[in-house]
Assembly symmetry: C2
Homo-oligomer: 164 residues x 2
């Protein structure tokens, strides 16, 4: 069972533990690979709108995601989200559960669409999850991501309309 709830102050150490290896690896998000806990907290919590965690029945944190407007005022009806799943919890549907939850939450918060700006092409698992949840690849950005081992790789813009 995966339970989704709002991220609370007390969750940060556990959230940072799952984020740190993903940031150090640098294969899926553009964040500086040497980012520290304060930097991560700034970009994941302080400059976003709402944050969530996914946990198991024992309260172990399996993943986290945020929602924020993708653009200022006249583009603020399009949501942007970021998601991270603990390495130890891969393959259990955590990303899918967070994705579904985020789509419901975005609608509830009044957003009309959701956009991912930089889905790294080599991150095939993520592309699959987002396509399963109804996102479309609307653009391909040639060489837009500097992969630590593969060099400059392409990234996708993915988009899903929530409300007509």
């Amino acid at each position: 069972m995966i339970r989704l709830r709002r991220l609370e102050e007390k969750d940060w150490p556990a959230v940072w533990s799952l984020m740190e290896p993903i940031i150090r690896e640098g294969e899926t998000y553009p964040y500086a690979r040497d980012m520290d806990s304060a930097g991560a907290r700034h970009m994941w919590v302080e400059v976003t709108h709402t944050q969530y965690v996914a946990e198991d029945e024992q309260g172990n944190i399996l993943g986290t995601y945020y929602i924020k407007p993708n653009q200022p005022t006249l583009g603020a009806h399009v949501a942007n989200c970021g998601y991270m799943v603990a390495e130890s919890a891969r393959g259990r549907g955590v990303a899918t559960a967070m994705g579904r939850h985020s789509l419901d939450e975005a609608l509830r918060l009044g957003y009309r669409a959701m956009q991912f700006n930089l889905v790294v092409m080599t991150n095939a698992a993520s592309v699959r999850v987002w396509e399963k949840l109804g996102f479309h690849i609307v653009g391909e950005l040639s060489g837009a991501f500097q992969h630590p081992t593969q060099g400059y790789v392409d990234a996708y813009v993915m988009y899903k309309v929530l409300a007509d």
Copy 2:
């Protein structure tokens, strides 16, 4: 003759005079239509990397643009620019001159590509200029811009590779 140079501290009042009607109109950029001079200065100057003005032979400011990284560290080799042309200077090639200058500057600054995230579809003049300068529409974002008179309109992601 249109001369391009770096924006200086003393230019701000003239730059704000040309920006204000464009922001108030709200048809091309997502910025809050009631943004004041300090807010505009923050988003155009303080959070960007480099700023420029276009001026005529008498030193009248005709336009302004900025360059900044479009994403954090691992995506920071892709430039993002914003451009505004004074209403009184439309039709004189100011956007094209700034566009060409920005492509040269971006290369000089070490960027490998340039991306526009939200080119409003109804802004046909801009789309034409960017296509003329070698940008491609790589994505269409359904209803991503809230136009003040036309409601939710589509916007394009446009992209140009600068270095291979």
